[in-house]
Symmetry: C2
Subunit: 160 residues, 2 copies
């Protein structure tokens, strides 16, 4: 049996390593769909409080905007140029996630849902534009989550 003396420490080595890998995996995959839904609430709060600056602070540097009626816009700096309307106090962008998913590696996910854009028409009357959105979220090197792609389109006005 002398030649089997290596079996116990060998098995122990396997066990220690395997346990470590599982813990690592657990730590890596701790963000969930709910993480992204919670992020959306923070994102909306930052937009309400700080306008375009708050909104853009959730975008990745290499983000892509897919706007309805316009061409693709590539890069946070380019996207920011069109977001000044969020600094007008008459305007309010609100959105509600309907669903979300995240990868097993918890580094890529998405949310989708409905939005309402509250503004005033040329006569100063309140106006609401209804739409839908998809936001793709990507874990950044600094550990933060940022929007990698955002797309919007139109919805019919809800029946009241």
């Amino acid at each position: 049996m002398k030649h089997l003396k290596w079996v116990v420490p060998f098995a122990l080595g396997i066990a220690v390593c395997w346990g470590g890998e599982r813990r690592l995996e657990g730590a890596k995959s701790s963000p969930s769909k709910q993480t992204l839904v919670d992020l959306e609430a923070e994102f909306m709060k930052a937009t309400a409080e700080k306008g375009s600056q708050g909104y853009m602070s959730y975008y990745a540097d290499d983000a892509v905007e897919v706007p309805n009626g316009g061409p693709l816009i590539v890069g946070k700096a380019e996207i920011a140029k069109g977001m000044g309307f969020l600094d007008n106090k008459d305007n309010r962008l609100e959105w509600t996630p309907v669903g979300a998913d995240i990868s097993a590696s918890a580094d890529l996910g998405y949310t989708y849902g409905n939005y309402e854009f509250h503004s005033r028409d040329k006569d100063g009357n309140p106006h609401i534009e209804y739409g839908k959105y998809t936001s793709i979220w990507k874990l950044q090197k600094d550990g933060s989550w940022k929007v990698a792609l955002d797309m919007g389109n139109a919805s019919p006005a809800p029946k009241r």
Copy 2:
């Protein structure tokens, strides 16, 4: 030194386990962005050849459609009800991916790009509608990739 006899087999155990994990990781993450771009080409070919049936064969059972101008549509069966227009030989849907990304775990990814919908107006004249899309792809339990979410919106007609 007798008590150090366990060191070599223990270290060997760690090494064998670690190597195995890395190989497993390599195998799991072999699909790439390009996998999704290639899939899009197959998806479009299936649509051209088999109409709505070919198109829908790339959708997950629990897919979500985010159509421009309409409400969210949930589930492959519901989405299929609106895709009959792809069986009209006068209609042709073509799309070109511009970008793609995939999670580290290679189970979730997306593509986005431009589409053209070729049809005929009421007078029988050729008509082209221009738009953009985002498709989120999810690895299924059977190992196939399916569309988990698809969204479209409008683009201006290109300047010729």
